[in-house]
Each structure stands twice: as structure tokens, then as C-alpha cells.
Symmetry: C2
DNA sequence: ATATGTGAACGGCTTCACAGCC
DNA sequence: GGCTGTGAAGCCGTTCACATAT
């Protein structure tokens, strides 16, 4: 076992992948799995998988493999899924609406408490599964509920401005879908998902 | 100038970021920019920016900086935006629909030619800006139009199956939104965007 | 015999620091 | 003086290979 800060970001990211694969194994009543076969399912090298898991203790048995259930529990603990993380979404445009309807978040232990927008018209949409509120109410909401994570889907030109408000209100993690680089204080974590950029770099790596 | 294969993946990825920042500068009638200020806007170190750009020739002038327009042209050439890349989208669920309405792709030079789904009901939606077609027609369409990139938004359990069909038809790059690890031949490039996973790893890095 | 756990080697990207040019 | 271009150094994660445990 090691210090939390010694664990590479990429290891944490891969834990989610392993978790997905392990759930499939559990569903198929598998009780143990070798690093070879789990690594293959997760598309990584066996040694990498073993090293990743070794950060969290001696989880396997030599000659046998890893107990599926134990791995799932351990990964769940590490990623903190025990505590259902409250999240808000800001910017109820096309992408924002799609994410609100997307049930993958809840499956992974996240609850989108509410969504915010500056346009009172879009707040009237009754078909969305979470409360829609005006941006004016956002700061109070974040403070009151102790929200620490936000999904940002506003247009590029408002990205920074809204991020500032969120950070001031106490948000510490932002999943940023706005095609903008956010400048935030060091203690705030931003993960960018830029769809056009993904396509752009993908196209570069395709042989002509 | 160097061999294409010597350029790090991450450099290519950052070029898109630089491009965004440069367009803002051009809009503000800036003619040159220093590595210091562009790096700050893109959230990278100045030396990194210079090294990234140096892969593509001597683009700057010592003592002065880089010409904005030249950088934009060069990056555009590298990323191949001259050729409007044709793309298809597979899986017209919530996320797929949102992506179809998302205009960011076109802005970056990608044209979504058509979208495919297995459910004939969803194909009746008239409000989407691209032709909707049944999955049976997909292979012929890909072959006929020479499509080389696909955006995959089908549910997890169909991901691999659909990917196989796409690869057989000739697709060489897949932007995969399905929460599944795809097994594909070496020459095919897959970029995963797993929204729940992004949230999950984000939550880990937030201080408790 | 089989599969984990891990020190050591490797490779690749980032950062430094300064030489070179305007 | 100011800023780019770049070899060298540093850093970090990946992969190897084998000692170790069952």
C-alpha cells in the first residue's frame, strides 16, 4: 500500500476500465481471474495490470490469480463510489440535455442533483429527469448542498465566466465540455472533453 | 521538419488547442504572438509550445514571436482540415442525437454524412440535420462514399459487434462513446470517450 | 506448474538552460 | 534586449524478467 499521491493518474483512470470488465466476469459467475486474461479484456499489458493493482495491496494469490469480488470492492473503495457524489450540470443545450438523459452517470454512482441555465425558456422543458433552475440560483444551491463537482456544457464564450462562479461557490472538480481552456486555481481539477478535438486528432492518425 | 511518425501523439492533440487560441487572436487582429503568451492561453509551458511547433519547421522569428496566420495555416495543413473529412455516426440514442445537433464538428472541418441505427422508429425523426438510415445500409454506404471515420454511440453490448462491421467495411478510425473496450486490428485507431469514467476519475482527484 | 509482485531497464515526453538570431 | 530553437537533463510511466509464493 502506498501514499495516495504516488498513484499515477493513468492508473486511477484504468481502474474504471478494470471495474467494468470485472463486473462482466462477476455476472458470469467467475470467482477468480488472472492478470493475463483481465489485462486482455482491458486492453493493457499483464504487467501493467499487476502494477496498477499492487498500489492497493497484495490482492492476488500466486499460482491462482485475483478474486473478482475483492478487486471490485477494492476499486470501488478507491474510487469512492461508496459515497454517491452529488453533481450539477450547467448549460442545458443539446449536449447538456443529452447528458441529463444519459443514465451512465447514475450507474457509476453519480447523481445529477440539478441543471442550470441562463435562458428561462429552456428551464420549462418537463421531459428532463432532473430539476432545472436558473443560473442565479446556482451559487446558493452549490453552497447549500455542498456540491463539489460540476459538468460544464455552456458555449465557449461563457465557459471561463461560469467556471469562475462555480469555483467561487466551492466547486473543486469540473468536467468541461466547453471548447475552451479554463484557467482555475491549482486546487481545482478540470478534465476536458473536447469532441471536435478528439475527431481532429483521430483523423491525423489514420493512414492516408 | 521531421518524419510524421516522430511527432508525439500529445503534440498533435495540443495543436488543436493552439488552433483555437490562435483563432481568437486573429479575431482580435493580432498579427504575431510570443510563445510565452500563447502558451499561457493554452495552459502549457512556453518551451513545450516551441518544441511542438518546431516539429513543423522554423515558424517563428527570434526576438519577435510567431506570425498568427502562418501558425493557423500550418496547423490546418498538419491536421488535414483542407480535406473535409467525411464521417458517419452510429447509434441515434440520446447521445447520438445530441452529437448530430452539435455544430462543433462542422466548425472543425468534419461533415457527418449520415447516421445509422437499428431501430426504424428513431429513423423517422425529421428534426435532425443529417439523413438517418438503417444499419443494413451502413456497409454499402461506407464503401461507396469511402468513409474512413465513425462516431460510435451504441449501447455497450453492441459496441464490439458494430465496430467489427465498421472495420470490415473499411473504417479506420473510431471515436467510441460506448462504454466498452473495442478489440480492433492494429491499423485501426480507436479513441474512447467514456463520460462516466471521466467523472469517476475526476472525483478521485478532488480533495476530501 | 502456475501466476503474482517488483526492482531494474527502457522509452518517451517535458522542462531546463542557453546558444543563436533578429 | 527579446524571443526562438534545441541539445541535454530530468521525470514518469511502461515493460521486462525473474524471484517468490502457493
Amino acid at each position: 500500500m502506498v501514499n495516495k499521491s504516488d498513484i499515477p493518474k493513468k492508473t486511477i483512470y484504468r481502474l474504471s476500465v478494470y471495474s467494468r470488465c470485472l463486473r462482466r466476469l462477476r455476472d458470469n459467475a467467475m470467482e477468480t481471474v488472472s492478470s493475463d486474461s483481465l489485462a486482455q479484456a482491458a486492453n493493457v499489458k499483464p504487467a501493467q495490470l499487476r502494477k496498477d493493482l499492487a498500489y492497493f495491496g497484495h490482492l492476488g494469490t500466486r499460482g491462482l490469480g485475483y478474486p473478482v469480488e475483492l478487486l471490485l470492492e477494492t476499486i470501488g473503495d478507491v474510487l469512492g463510489r461508496a459515497t454517491l457524489q452529488p453533481v450539477i450540470l450547467v448549460g442545458v443545450g443539446n449536449l447538456g440535455r443529452a447528458l441529463l438523459r444519459y443514465d451512465g452517470f447514475k450507474k457509476e454512482g453519480f447523481e445529477v442533483l440539478a441543471a442550470f441555465d441562463s435562458d428561462r425558456e429552456v428551464l420549462k422543458d418537463e421531459r428532463l429527469p432532473v430539476p432545472l433552475m436558473h443560473e442565479e440560483q446556482m451559487v446558493d444551491f452549490v453552497k447549500e448542498k455542498g456540491v463539489r463537482m460540476a459538468i460544464l456544457c455552456v458555449p465557449a464564450q461563457y465557459g471561463q465566466e461560469v467556471a469562475n462562479v462555480l469555483v467561487d461557490a466551492g466547486v473543486q472538480g469540473i468536467l468541461n465540455f466547453s471548447p475552451t481552456i479554463l484557467q482555475v486555481p491549482d486546487q481545482v481539477v478540470v478534465t476536458r472533453v473536447d469532441l471536435a478535438m478528439e475527431l481532429e486528432s483521430l483523423s491525423y492518425f489514420i493512414d492516408q
